[in-house]
C-alpha cells in the first residue's frame, strides 16, 4: 500500500541513480513555481535558501519574531559527518551502520545511507558560510565523540553548535531575502493546509500581531516545523515548539508515522518544582569526559564530592564496558530510571544521578574543560545554584526529540501530493532512537542537499499553478473553519487556564507513555485523554479577542492539538507490542532488562490515517527491508 519510492539498485548507488533519473526544471521555468516553506529551523531555513538559490519563488513562514530564533538554535553538542579527519576508521558505511543500529533497526536503509553520504557536504557548506567550528592549533577542524559511536565524527562550535549552524542557514536565507527571491513572514502561524483535488495547494495562517487569518498558495508546501516533544509539557523543547502544523496536515490526510518513537535524553537538569516551565539539556558531549554514577548504598545523603571512590557505582561503565558512558541515549536513560526507581537516586527528590567531570578536570586541567563545556557549566550553575566544577552535576532524563513524524517517501514527500516534510517533522531517518549530533545532520541534509533535488523532480511533472487558485472555494472554506475554531476557543470562558490543561496532559503522558510503557498504563491513558480534552472544550479560559496579539490564544490552539495528538501517540505505543529504541514496553524485555525487539512482527513503519477526533485511526504499514545490514540485537557491552 505505502510506496516508499526507493530507487532500484545497490544501496550505495541509489541516490546517484535518483539524481540522474530525476526530471529537471529549466532555469527559465523555475521562477514560475512558488514553494511555501513553513518553519525556519535548520531544515526550513536551509531548504528555503537553497530552493531560492535555484531560482524558485519561495515564501518562508515562522511563528517566532525572526527566522533565527527557531529551536535548532539550542542544539549544543555537535553535528556528525563521515569525514574521517581523525583517521580513526570512519566511513560513510560506518556512519550509516551506526545510525541504523542506533535507531534499533526501525529506519529505512536507503534514507539513512543517503544521509551518511551527504553528511560530508554539510560540513563543507557550513565552513564556507563562516560557521566557526572548533579548530586545533594547526587550523584544521577538531572532532569529538558522541553516544553510539566508537569514532570521533562530531564537529562542534563550543557548546553552541546548533546556534552557529542555524545562523549559517539564517544568513543564507537573509542573503536570498535581500534579493527578493524569498519573502519572509515572521510571526505567522500555520493553522491549516489547503488540499485541492488531493494536492497540497497552500496554507492558512494567522498573523500573530494583527490576528488576521490569511491564505497563501503555491505549487508545493514544505513543513519544517519540528517535533512534538512538548505534548509532554515538560521537555527540552522551546516553549513555542508545537505540533499544530503537522497535526493539522494529518487531519487533512497526511499519514503520521511511528508517533510512539520519542526520545528521552539522559542528561538534563533535574526537575525542581511544580511551577517549572521547561527542562534544560546538558549536552551529551559531556559524556565524553564525564562519568555517570550513583552511590553504591541507597539513601547515602552525603554530597557527591564527599562520597569516596570505592562507594560509587559507575553503572554505565559497569553494565556496558565497550561503550561505557557513551551508550546511546535510550539505554542511558533507562538505566538511570531503573536505579532511581530502585531508590538509588540522589538529590532531594531521589530523581537524579551524578554526572561527574572531576576526573577529566584532573586529567585535562580546568581551562580545557572550560573551553569545551564552559557555557554548559555556567548554565547549570545559574539554574541549580551549585558550582559544577566543585560538585558533580545532578541530572535526570527528559523528553528531548521525537523520531516519529509525518510519513514521507524517499523524496521526502508525504502521501499527499505536493506536501513535503523535512527535519524533525518527518519520521524518516532515526528509527526508534536518534543518535546524538544526528538531528542537525538530518535537518541540514534534508534542506541543503535532498529536497532541492526531489522538489525539482516533483515540480517538473506538474505545470505551475494559477495564482487565482486562492479564490478557490476550498481556501475560503479553510479560512472560515479557522475563524470559527478561534471563535469557539475564545467563547468558552471557563475556569481553567490553557497551561493547567497542558500540565495535566503532560504528566499523564510522562507517567503512562514515558520511559517505560505497559498495556494497562497505556489503556488508562487512552481512557483519560478524551476526558481531559472534553473538559478543555468546556472549561478552558482564553481571554482577549482573535483580532489582536494574543499569546494565550496561540497556546490554546497548540494545546487543543496536543490533546488530540496524544491519543494517537498512546494508541501507537499500545499497538507496537515490542520494545525498541525509545519505545520500551515492560512486557517485552530481555532477562537483563534490555529492549526486546520482535522483528518477525514489527519490522515495519506504522503510518496512521486520520478518521476523525476520537475515532480509531487506520493503520498503513511500510515493511522495512534490510538488504545491507543484518538485523541483530543491539549490544553495547
Amino acid at each position: 500500500m505505502l510506496d516508499s519510492k526507493i530507487p532500484q539498485g545497490p544501496l550505495k548507488d541509489k541516490w546517484t541513480t535518483f539524481k540522474f533519473s530525476a526530471r529537471l526544471v529549466s532555469p527559465a521555468n523555475k521562477r514560475k513555481y512558488k514553494i511555501l516553506v513553513v518553519g525556519t529551523g535548520l531544515a526550513g531555513a536551509s531548504a528555503a535558501a537553497s530552493l531560492a538559490e535555484l531560482g524558485y519563488q519561495v515564501e518562508s513562514f515562522c511563528f517566532q519574531d525572526s527566522p533565527r530564533r527557531a529551536h535548532s538554535i539550542a542544539a549544543q553538542g555537535g553535528i556528525n559527518a563521515a569525514k574521517n579527519y581523525p583517521n580513526d576508521g570512519d566511513s560513510i558505511k560506518r556512519l550509516f551502520y551506526d545510525t541504523i543500529k542506533g535507531g534499533d533497526f526501525r529506519s529505512r536503509e536507503a534514507n539513512v545511507y543517503r544521509l551518511a553520504e551527504v553528511s560530508n557536504c554539510i560540513i563543507d557548506q557550513c565552513v564556507a558560510q563562516g560557521v566557526p567550528f572548533a579548530r586545533e592549533y594547526s587550523g584544521y577542524l577538531d572532532n569529538r565523540s558522541f553516544g553510539g559511536a566508537q569514532v570521533s565524527r562530531t564537529f562542534y562550535a563550543r557548546g553552541q553548535t546548533g546556534q552557529q549552524l542555524l545562523l549559517g542557514a539564517y544568513q543564507a536565507l537573509m542573503k536570498e531575502a535581500a534579493k527578493g527571491s524569498v519573502i519572509l513572514h515572521p510571526r505567522m502561524e500555520m493553522l491549516d493546509l489547503v488540499i485541492i483535488d488531493g494536492v497540497a495547494r497552500g496554507i492558512v495562517v494567522r498573523n500573530l500581531i494583527s490576528g488576521q487569518i490569511e491564505s497563501y498558495s503555491g505549487d508545493a508546501v514544505v513543513l519544517a516545523t519540528g517535533g512534538y516533544g512538548n505534548v509532554f509539557y515538560l521537555s527540552t523543547n522551546a516553549k513555542g515548539s508545537n505540533a499544530t502544523a503537522i497535526w493539522r496536515a494529518h487531519k487533512k490526510g497526511a499519514f503520521f508515522a511511528n508517533p510512539c518513537f520519542t526520545q528521552i535524553h539522559p542528561t538534563c537538569i533535574c526537575v525542581h518544582g511544580d511551577y517549572q516551565s521547561k527542562l534544560t539539556l546538558m549536552s551529551e558531549s559531556l559524556r565524553n569526559d564525564g562519568r555517570v554514577w550513583v552511590p553504591k548504598n541507597s539513601g547515602d545523603k552525603r554530597p557527591g564530592h564527599k562520597i569516596p571512590e570505592n562507594e560509587r557505582d559507575y553503572f554505565l561503565e559497569r553494565k556496558y564496558p565497550a561503550f561505557g558512558n557513551l551508550v546511546p541515549r535510550d539505554i542511558a536513560s533507562r538505566s538511570t530510571k531503573e536505579l532511581c526507581d530502585a531508590g538509588r537516586g540522589v538529590g532531594s527528590s531521589g530523581q537524579a544521578v551524578y554526572l561527574d567531570l572531576t576526573d577529566a578536570i584532573k586529567r585535562l586541567g580546568i581551562d580545557t574543560i572550560k573551553e569545551r563545556y564552559g557555557n554548559l557549566f555556567d548554565m547549570y550553575e545559574k539554574i541549580m545554584n551549585q558550582n559544577p566544577y566543585q560538585t558533580p552535576m545532578m541530572i535526570y532524563p527528559a523528553v528531548h526529540y521525537t523520531m516519529g513524524g509525518l510519513w514521507v517517501d524517499y523524496n521526502l514527500m508525504s502521501n499527499l501530493s505536493g506536501l513535503f516534510v523535512i527535519g524533525e517533522a518527518n519520521f524518516s531517518d532515526h528509527g526508534a532512537n536518534r543518535l546524538g549530533a544526528s538531528a542537525l545532520m538530518q535537518g541540514l541534509a534534508d534542506g541543503y542537499f535532498v529536497l532541492p533535488y526531489t522538489m525539482g523532480d516533483y515540480l517538473a511533472k506538474n505545470k505551475p499553478v494559477d495564482t487565482n487558485i486562492k479564490d478557490h472555494a476550498e481556501f475560503k472554506k479553510c479560512e472560515a473553519d479557522i475563524k470559527n475554531y478561534t471563535h469557539k476557543l475564545l467563547s468558552i470562558k471557563g475556569k481553567r487556564t490553557v497551561d493547567d490543561f497542558h500540565r495535566q496532559l503532560g504528566q499523564l503522558l510522562w507517567d503512562k507513555c514515558g520511559m517505560a510503557r505497559s498495556e494497562s498504563g497505556l489503556n488508562e491513558a487512552l481512557n483519560k485523554i478524551p476526558e481531559i480534552r472534553q473538559e478543555f472544550w468546556k472549561n478552558v479560559n482564553v481571554l482577549g479577542s482573535g483580532e489582536e496579539f494574543n499569546q494565550a490564544l496561540e497556546r490554546a490552539g497548540r494545546v487543543a492539538d496536543f490533546l488530540e495528538f496524544a491519543e494517537l501517540l498512546v494508541a501507537d505505543a499500545l499497538h507496537r507490542q515490542e520494545s525498541c529504541g525509545g519505545h520500551f514496553r515492560q512486557e517485552y524485555q530481555t532477562p537483563e532488562g534490555e529492549a526486546l525487539r520482535r522483528d518477525d512482527l514489527f519490522t515495519y513503519v506504522a503510518a496512521w490515517q486520520f478518521n476523525g477526533v476520537g475515532q480509531n485511526p487506520t493503520l498503513h504499514k511500510e515493511e522495512l527491508k534490510f538488504e545491507e545490514v543484518h538485523l541483530a540485537q543491539r549490544s553495547y557491552k
Partner: protein, 248 residues
C-alpha cells in the same frame, strides 16, 4: 531549600503599537526563589487570567538563554541585574523579599512596541540582509579542510558569533545605538578567510542600513557590553570602526 518571597511588580502595559502605555501594579506572592524570572511571570499571568485580567504579553521561547527572544528592562537594567544573563536564566534568588520591580520593554525608536513587553526587532534582520552573510550557494563549497583557519581567528569569530540578537545592547545604550550587534555580526565574518572577499561591502552596507533604520550613534558608553547576556566585548566595535575606515 527554596525560599518564598513576595514582590511588587510595576509592569508596562500597552495594548498595541498605537495605544498609550502605562504602568500597572501587581503583587507576586509566594514566589519560589528557584524560579526563573519568566516562570515568575507565568505564575503572575496564571493568577491574572483567573481574575479576568489580560495576562502580560512577553516574548520568550527557548528559556535556556540562546534563542534571544526574551528580554525586558528590570529596574532600569536590560535583562535584569545579573551579569551575562538573559531574562530566562535569571532566577528569583537574586531578588529580595518585599522588593519592587519595575518591568519595561526594551525601549528604542527602532524597536516599536507590539504589546506590553513585546517589541519589533525586525530592524536587526534587515541589517543582516544588507550584508551579514557570506554569498556562498549550496553546493559551491570546497572541502572543509581546503583552507586552514588559525585557531585565534576562529576563537575571535566564535566570541562574536555568540551574539543572540536579543537587542539588550540597544536598550542599554543612552543613544539606542546598535553598534555592538552590528560589530559582532560583521566581526564574526570579516575575520575569517571565507568572509574576506565581501568584507568591504559587508561593512559599509551593514553600517549604512543601521543608520537608515534610525539607530543612534556610538559614543563609547560601554553600556552595551555591560548588558550583553553573552558578554560580547566592545573590542568588536573597535574592529568594526577599523574595517569601516579601511573600506570607506
Amino acid at each position: 531549600m527554596a525560599n518564598k518571597i513576595n514582590l511588587i511588580l510595576k509592569v508596562w502595559r500597552q495594548k498595541n503599537q498605537e495605544s498609550q502605555g502605562r504602568f500597572e501594579t501587581y503583587k507576586a506572592l509566594d514566589i519560589d526563589t528557584d524560579m526563573s524570572f519568566l516562570e515568575m511571570l507565568d505564575v503572575v499571568n496564571e493568577s491574572l487570567t483567573k481574575s479576568g485580567v489580560d495576562p502580560i504579553a512577553f516574548d520568550h521561547d527557548c528559556r535556556e538563554g540562546i534563542c534571544g527572544t526574551c528580554g525586558a528592562v528590570i529596574n532600569g537594567q536590560a535583562h535584569g541585574p545579573l551579569k551575562g544573563t538573559t531574562l530566562c536564566q535569571l532566577h528569583m534568588r537574586h531578588f529580595k523579599d518585599g522588593q519592587t520591580l519595575v518591568i519595561e520593554p526594551f525601549r528604542a525608536k527602532t524597536f516599536p512596541i507590539i504589546k506590553d513587553l513585546c517589541v519589533d526587532r525586525s530592524a536587526f534582520d534587515r541589517i543582516i540582509q544588507a550584508g551579514g552573510f557570506i554569498s556562498v550557494k549550496t553546493g559551491q563549497a570546497p572541502d572543509a579542510h581546503a583552507v586552514p583557519v588559525p585557531k585565534d581567528k576562529v576563537d575571535w569569530a566564535m566570541d562574536a558569533a555568540a551574539c543572540i540578537g536579543c537587542g539588550a545592547c540597544v536598550a542599554a545604550c543612552p543613544n539606542a545605538s546598535a553598534m555592538l550587534f552590528v560589530a559582532a555580526k560583521a566581526s564574526h565574518l570579516n575575520v575569517l578567510p571565507q568572509g574576506v572577499p565581501e568584507k568591504k561591502s559587508r561593512t559599509l552596507n551593514m553600517v549604512k542600513q543601521m543608520d537608515q533604520e534610525g539607530f543612534g550613534n556610538c559614543s563609547n558608553e560601554y553600556e552595551c557590553e555591560a548588558a550583553c547576556p553573552k558578554e560580547i566585548s566592545v573590542a568588536h566595535i573597535a574592529r568594526l570602526n577599523k574595517d569601516h575606515r579601511q573600506a570607506s
